[in-house]
Each structure stands twice: as structure tokens, then as C-alpha cells.
């Protein structure tokens, strides 16, 4: 319970510290920002290690199912003396068989880490090359199939179907299908820069820009919606933490922070050279 209440006060302080940036850049914000950077790096390092490296890499190099007294597990036992949590006794039991080919990504990974040293910075290239090659192969197929062919298929829609109405606000209609076809084609033509956008071609691309502007406006509307939703989420949490169960954390932290920032602003007013942006 103490952990929960203390955690609530920490969360409220950090939230208001970030929000204090709206007033102006100040030490509270800088402290919270640096804590976020440090904790994020440590959090992700721990998370990726325990969910990937330990079970899937070490678990395949030293599986418990094939534990023996040989040289290979001798190395494992040595690591186990350093950290018994990462290398528990008897091998790592995650349901894998031994795959010594996993020494290849292990070596590439170590080379990546060694690139921290300036003279060995080129070491990371091999690991990066593997990830780039893998991503390029995956994406070439994925984007061509779903984003190009799939969308072309979606644009081939009936323009003269007798079952469809001429126009409808909701649902398919001849007019709506025509809008989608014209908009897609003219929008695509706008991105064709090998021909100058003038004359009749210019008029067609102009129509394309109008459709693009409508979709940018829709994106803007959704972007505003998303940001406001996140703000609502933060305020809901602050309201929760203002209750008596958490000793009115929100109110106390707000009063103290506003007081300190106000006092600092009052001092800066007397000393204009020290005023920040």
C-alpha cells in the first residue's frame, strides 16, 4: 500500500513537471525529461534481455535438455558463477534444442556492442547489414502486395452496377465509387514528376491536389482527436490521485509546484537578465 501511495506521488510530480514546460522551460521539466531518458533506456534494455536474449539466444546455446559435463557447458557454468539468475544451474529450460548456429547472431551482436569504441565502430556494420537485408526482403514483398496490389484491387469498383444507387451518403453508390476512382488516379498522377504539370495534365493534377488536401485535413482532425484523448487520459489519472486514498497528491504537488514557479517568476521579474525563453 505504501508503494502504491508513494508511487502515486512520484507519478503526479513527474506529470506536473512535464506539464510545467507549458509555462516555460524550468528545472522541474529538465529533471523529469532526463529521468525519462535514463529510465527508458534501462527499462528497454532489461525487457529485451529477459524476453529475447536470455530465453531465445542463451536458451538455444545452452538448453537444459542437453546439459552435460563437457567443455561447452563448462563455459556456461563459469557464466553461472557470475550470474546465477541469467545462467541458472543445469542449463536454461525454455523448451529449445541446442542450435550452435545461433553463435552467428551472438557474434554479430557482440560486434554491435563493441562499436561503442571509436576504433571498432565499423564492427556494427555486419549486424546492421543483416537487419537491413532482412527488412528489405520482408518489406519489398509486404508493401508491394498489400499497399500496391491490394489497393489497386480495392480501387477496381463497379461504376455501372444496377443494384447500386446513384448517390448515398453512407454505403456504396455510383457517385462514391467514381469519387474514389477519380481521386486515386488524379492523386497518383500528381506524384508523377517526369512530366511538367501544365495544360490538361496540370488541370488533372490540380484535382489530385484537392483530394490530397481533403485527406490531409482529415489527418489533421484525427491528429487533434488523438492528442486530446491522451490529455484526457492524463487528467483522469490526476483526478484519481487527488482523492483522499492518495492523500490528495495532485492538489499538494500542484500547489507546491505553482508556488515555486511563481516565486521564481517573481525573482526573474526583478532580475530581467536571468529570465529564460
Amino acid at each position: 500500500m505504501f508503494g502504491e501511495i508513494f508511487g502515486a506521488w512520484v507519478a503526479v510530480f513527474l506529470t506536473f513537471a512535464i506539464f510545467s514546460f507549458l509555462y516555460k522551460d524550468n528545472p522541474f521539466y529538465k529533471i523529469a525529461e532526463h529521468i525519462f531518458v535514463g529510465v527508458s533506456a534501462g527499462y528497454w534494455t532489461s525487457m529485451f534481455f529477459w524476453t529475447q536474449i536470455q530465453p531465445n539466444l542463451f536458451g538455444r546455446l545452452w538448453p537444459s535438455a542437453q546439459y552435460s559435463d563437457g567443455f561447452w557447458y563448462g563455459i556456461y557454468n563459469f557464466f553461472g558463477m557470475i550470474s546465477s539468475s541469467i545462467f541458472p544451474e543445469g542449463g536454461i529450460d525454455k523448451g529449445h534444442d541446442m542450435h550452435l548456429t545461433y553463435l552467428i547472431p551472438f557474434a554479430l551482436g557482440i560486434m554491435m556492442l563493441l562499436s561503442l569504441f571509436k576504433k571498432l565502430s565499423w564492427f556494427a556494420r555486419w549486424g546492421i547489414a543483416y537487419t537491413v537485408g532482412m527488412a528489405a526482403g520482408l518489406r519489398a514483398y509486404g508493401y508491394l502486395n498489400s499497399n500496391v496490389l491490394g489497393q489497386i484491387r480495392g480501387t477496381i469498383i463497379p461504376l455501372a452496377d444496377p443494384d447500386l444507387p446513384m448517390f448515398s451518403l453512407l454505403g456504396a453508390s455510383h457517385f462514391n465509387n467514381l469519387i474514389i476512382l477519380v481521386g486515386t488516379v488524379t492523386g497518383l498522377l500528381y506524384f508523377f514528376f517526369s512530366k511538367e504539370h501544365k495544360g490538361n495534365f496540370g488541370k488533372v493534377t490540380r484535382v489530385g491536389i484537392y483530394f490530397l488536401m481533403i485527406s490531409f485535413g482529415a489527418s489533421f482532425g484525427f491528429a487533434v482527436m488523438g492528442r486530446i484523448s491522451l490529455l484526457i487520459g492524463r487528467f483522469v489519472e490526476l483526478i484519481t490521485y487527488s482523492s483522499a486514498q492518495y492523500h490528495h497528491a495532485t492538489l499538494w504537488v500542484l500547489v507546491i509546484m505553482v508556488g515555486l514557479l511563481g516565486y521564481s517568476a517573481y525573482n526573474d521579474k526583478d532580475n530581467p537578465e536571468t529570465e529564460g525563453s
Binding site: 507519478a11 529477459w50 556492442l113 543483416y130 537485408g133 528489405a136 519489398a140 508493401y143 483530394f211
Partner: protein, 272 residues
């Protein structure tokens, strides 16, 4: 040259080709490698890349402290935060009933406490901050300088209002009256004749009022002026058309770039 340049290019070419053609080859060993082991290796290297980022960050912050650069005191908080997360991840569970490994997700651990009361609030608030800046930027910079900007603004406003419950509570007749008023302002700015403006606005109000009275003032009729229906039409038709054309353009671009990487034409990953 061989180690620093040719071998990385060869790795990209071999792995890229294998992954791409793996979609089309039915040979069991190749399929097993491409679908299973190759993806596992990718995951492992992705994890090491995260470690590299974390250690690089630590290195930079330590250098800032040791060289007493401007703002070095704040770097102590960054280093402290990193050390706290590493202690929670590797040295102190906080819940003795939980095994190492599952402690990163289990309840009652220090790691989970850090996630709930430090990491999550900070991340969420950073994003939430943008709401204020979006509002401020919209007020100060969003101007209808030309027809395209007007289209962008109008579609954005219709989506913003039509998509929330408030939009479904606004009658289409209110929108009609608003359009009559906007039309009047436009007539006035073009003709600069108060008489024309007055006639337009009066006739407009009379028509809208008569139509509304005869139909019984239904909230969602005429449908084209009911914001939720209008925003749905914009969302599903012209918006899809514009977004689709962008998506196809990006898809073709990514395909072309991927082939360039596999063929060794693009070498930006080795700094060329």
C-alpha cells in the same frame, strides 16, 4: 575494405535475396531458415541494437558529467534513472515468489513499479503535451490563404466535430443557417453591396425555416448537412482516395528502395 565494405554489402544481398525469394520458394530447408531461424536472428540483433542505444546514451551522459558540460547536473538524473532500471531488471526483484525472467512482467516487482509510476506517466504526459501545442499552432498558424488550405481546414473541422458526440447533437438545420450566414458574408465581400447581402440572407433564412417547419425539424435531415453523415462520407470517399494514392506511391517507393539495397546500389547503412 573487404571487412568494412564488401562483406556488409554481401550480407545485405544474400540475406535480402533469401528473405524476398523465400516467399516464393517451397524448399523446406530454405523455408525453415527464412521463416524461423532468420527471424529469430533478426530479433536477437534488434535486441542488441537496443542495448547499443542504451549504452551509448549512458556513455554520452557520463561524458557530460565528467567534462562538466552545461546542464551536467541533469545528466546525473539520467544516469540515476538508468541505474535504477538496471537494478530492478537484473539485481533486485522485489517479489521473491517470482522467477527471474518473468519478473519484468509480474506484479509486485520493483520493475513493474517503475513501469507504472515512472515510465508510464512520463511517456503518457510527453505525448499529452502535444495537445496544447496543436491547439496553439492551429490558432496562430492555420490560415485559409488559398482554396487548398480552405479545403484542408473545412475537412479537418468537419471530421473534428462530426466524429465526437457533440457533432451528432448538432442539427443539420443549424448548419444550414450557418451556411446562409457564411454565404451572406461572402456575397458582401464580393459585391460590397449591403442590399444584396440583406436580400440573400433574408431569402436564405426564409427558405431554411420553411423547409425545416414543413419537415418537422428532424435532427439528421437533410443528411448531407448532418455532420456525422457528412464526416463519414468525407472519411470513406475523398479521404480514402487521397490516402490510397499516397499509400500506393509510398509502397512503390519502398519496393524500389528495398531492391536498391538488395542489389547493393544503396549503401547508406555503411555511411556511403
Amino acid at each position: 575494405m573487404l571487412w568494412k565494405r564488401h562483406i556488409p554489402i554481401l550480407i545485405v544481398a544474400v540475406i535480402g535475396s533469401l528473405t524476398l525469394f523465400g516467399w516464393f520458394i517451397d524448399e523446406p530447408n530454405i523455408k525453415a531458415f527464412v521463416n524461423d531461424d532468420a527471424t529469430q536472428w533478426f530479433d536477437i540483433l534488434a535486441s542488441f541494437a537496443i542495448f547499443l542505444g542504451g549504452f551509448n546514451l549512458l556513455k554520452m551522459q557520463l561524458q557530460k558529467v565528467l567534462r562538466k558540460k552545461q546542464g551536467w547536473q541533469y545528466s546525473l538524473f539520467a544516469i540515476g534513472g538508468f541505474i535504477l532500471a538496471i537494478i530492478a531488471g537484473f539485481f533486485y526483484k522485489g517479489n521473491p515468489d517470482v522467477a527471474w525472467g518473468t519478473h519484468v512482467t509480474a506484479d509486485g516487482t520493483l520493475f513493474k513499479w517503475i513501469f507504472m509510476y515512472i515510465f508510464a506517466p512520463l511517456g503518457a504526459t510527453m505525448f499529452a503535451l502535444l495537445a496544447f501545442f496543436v491547439a496553439s499552432a492551429s490558432y496562430r498558424a492555420f490560415r485559409i490563404r488559398n482554396f487548398e488550405a480552405t479545403l484542408l481546414l473545412v475537412s479537418g473541422i468537419i471530421i473534428m466535430i462530426g466524429r465526437v458526440p457533440l457533432g451528432s447533437s448538432i442539427s443539420s438545420w443549424f448548419i444550414l443557417y450557418l451556411l446562409v450566414l457564411i454565404g451572406g458574408i461572402a456575397i458582401n465581400s464580393v459585391f460590397k453591396n449591403k442590399q444584396y447581402t440583406a436580400i440573400f440572407v433574408s431569402v436564405g433564412i426564409i427558405i431554411v425555416t420553411s423547409a425545416g417547419s414543413s419537415m418537422g425539424w428532424p435532427l439528421d435531415q437533410p443528411g448531407i448537412f448532418y455532420l456525422p453523415h457528412l464526416q463519414e462520407w468525407i472519411y470513406m470517399n475523398p479521404n480514402v482516395a487521397g490516402t490510397r494514392s499516397i499509400m500506393m506511391g509510398i509502397g512503390l517507393g519502398i519496393f524500389a528502395t528495398s531492391i536498391r539495397y538488395i542489389l547493393g546500389i544503396e549503401k547508406s547503412y555503411i555511411g556511403e
